[in-house]
């Protein structure tokens, strides 16, 4: 019994902080649902959704205002304690600016550099296993070493201790940009090829690496024409840049 009351006491003690958080959550949920414009012409479900939110908002705001009037209000204590903090005044001002900037970003779900909602990977994606292929194809650059094709795993090169062909400075951000964001651009390919001069690589070809998730087998196909055929927009982050000499050689074959 005692411990139960203790827990309830703790919640009482934190009541206005919890109310404030709930108001923030409701507002955030409303804004991010992004269907407010369709409220009046929307379905009953949408109207109910907003009505319940507004009702909860009003109710919790009332509870919060009531709670804030109490002398032991935790928000009031935090406020007075923050004012008395033993830190330089200009730092206090900076904290307020940064807090407001980030608060707005988190509430709206947006990043406005340097303020951020830190929404990485927050875009939900549904994985429909029935429509997904058991085989994933990845078009990768390769070169010949002792007459054998060798895959250039660019992402692996982003780590100095694992790097084989590129050196310091080719950070994981570079390898991400070159492997995904910029993979379809000629400038990206030229930059990569230039970076490999020290490694004595002057020609890169595009081959197809694949993984069959059912059999758990990973294979690599260096056929230059198969890579061209499989280079479609459906690939993850789109097409990869294939150099003209590969296309020409494929037509000649």
């Amino acid at each position: 019994m005692n411990s139960k009351y203790k827990i309830l006491d703790k919640f009482k003690y934190l009541a206005d902080l919890i109310y404030a958080l709930l108001i923030f959550f409701i507002l955030s949920n409303l804004i991010k649902t992004n269907t407010l414009p369709s409220f009046f012409e929307g379905s009953f479900k949408i109207k109910l959704f907003y009505s319940l939110h507004f009702l909860a908002l009003v109710l919790i705001s009332f509870l919060l205002s009531k709670s804030l009037k109490k002398r032991d209000s935790i928000i009031r204590k935090i406020y007075s304690k923050s004012k008395k903090l033993n830190i330089p005044n200009n730092v206090k001002l900076i904290i307020i600016i940064v807090f407001v900037g980030n608060f707005i970003c988190v509430l709206l779900g947006k990043t406005v550099y340097p303020f951020s909602n830190v929404g990485m990977f927050s875009n939900r994606s549904y994985f429909d296993s029935d429509s997904k292929s058991k085989i994933i194809y990845r078009l990768k650059y390769y070169y010949f070493e002792e007459n054998k094709p060798k895959i250039l795993d660019v992402r692996k090169e982003g780590f100095y201790f694992l790097s084989d062909k590129l050196g310091l400075g080719y950070t994981h951000e570079y390898t991400f940009s070159t492997t995904f964001h910029n993979k379809g651009k000629k400038e990206n390919f030229d930059y990569l090829l230039n970076s490999l001069v020290d490694a004595q690589i002057d020609t890169l070809w595009v081959g197809v690496q694949s993984v069959n998730f059912e059999t758990r087998k990973v294979t690599f196909n260096p056929d230059i024409c198969d890579a061209i055929t499989l280079n479609t927009d459906e690939r993850y982050y789109g097409k990869v840049y294939i150099p003209n000499y590969q296309i020409q050689k494929c037509y000649e074959l």
């Binding site: 003690y13 649902t33 033993n86 730092v91 900076i94 940064v98 951020s116 830190v118 994606s125 296993s129």
Partner: protein, 309 residues
């Protein structure tokens, strides 16, 4: 009413004594990270190939254009040079603000073309705090050259502590916001909890991941439904939201940093590296300052009388 569990809340901790060595180590690691990032070939690549779009900054567009067209070349030299000076702790009072401004400009160009919050999100606020702190009182050239002057300065009791605690608060903001971003709007939370996002990352990026580089083959069929992705997604939200505990008490810091690093290690294996080393750097500020040898043991008695809020 007071509860001992909240005695070490952040508002109290800010007024506690700190460790000059802890702050100095943080300054050095932050400088090393800035040096490493500003030397990234990504900046050169973005200049020739561009990158992502649809990114927004607080700067007016003419400034974004000026940075991209003219300033980047200079900033690529200025930022690493200043970061070395920050590491050495030389003229830190002047170097830190200059580095902060040039860092903000250089990574403005970076972010516009590379829409991920790495590494600037982890760095910019801590660097701003370094500008106002006494981070070069220890392990620095400033201490070596101007040591006597520094000693005669009136150093506040908590001078080494408040910057550390503000960086801890930044750590909380980063992970708690990341958790919030995943749970709102609630209508799509169910989708997140089904694990589709984690599964997509592992499925699409397997051939570019460390799991492939290390083990070559997948452990199981990543293309079929598996409860493990759902568990991982729910765990990631719990771990991210749990960091808010740091604001109330520092009792569980070790567990929290362990969980965050474990999460990043898993992401690292699946082809999302980079966050782990940044979390480790900020994690320095989650270490109890008492563990550093310069912590003022006797004066700390004062802290025990601190009120809860």
């Amino acid at each position: 009413m007071s509860y001992s569990v909240f005695e070490n809340n952040i508002l109290n901790r800010i007024n506690f004594a700190g460790s000059g060595n802890q702050l100095a180590i943080f300054r050095i690691l932050l400088g090393l990270q800035i040096f490493y990032s500003s030397n990234s070939k990504l900046i050169d690549l973005l200049q020739v190939a561009g990158g992502t779009s649809e990114t927004v900054t607080i700067f007016p567009s003419f400034l974004d254009t000026l940075i991209a067209s003219t300033l980047v070349d200079y900033l690529q030299i200025i930022v690493p040079v200043l970061s070395v000076l920050l590491i050495l702790g030389f003229l830190t009072r002047f170097v830190a603000p200059l580095l902060f401004i040039s860092f903000l400009f250089l990574f403005d160009f970076w972010y516009i073309n590379f829409d991920a919050p790495v590494p600037w999100l982890y760095i910019w606020f801590p660097l701003l705090i370094i500008c106002f702190s006494k981070s070069s009182d220890n392990i620095s050239l400033d201490a070596l050259v101007f040591g006597k002057t520094l000693q005669t300065q009136n150093i506040q009791y908590n001078s080494y502590r408040w910057p550390i605690e503000l960086v801890s608060a930044w750590f909380v903001y980063i992970y708690f916001s990341a958790g919030l971003a995943k749970i709102f709007p609630v209508t799509t939370l169910i989708e997140w909890m089904q694990g589709g996002t984690s599964q997509n990352i592992l499925y699409e990026r397997f051939l570019d991941s460390f799991l492939h580089y290390t083990f070559n083959e997948p452990f199981f069929d990543y293309s079929s439904n598996n409860y493990i992705f759902s568990i991982l997604s729910i765990l990631s939200i719990i771990v991210e939201l749990s960091v808010i505990i740091i604001l109330f008490t520092n009792r569980y810091n070790k567990i929290i940093i362990f969980l965050i690093l474990s999460m990043h290690f898993f992401l690292f294996l699946t082809g999302v590296p980079g966050f782990m080393q940044l979390a480790l750097i900020l994690g320095i500020c989650l270490i109890n300052p008492k563990l550093f040898n310069d912590y003022p043991q006797t004066r700390n008695n004062k802290t025990k009388t601190a009120k809860i809020f």
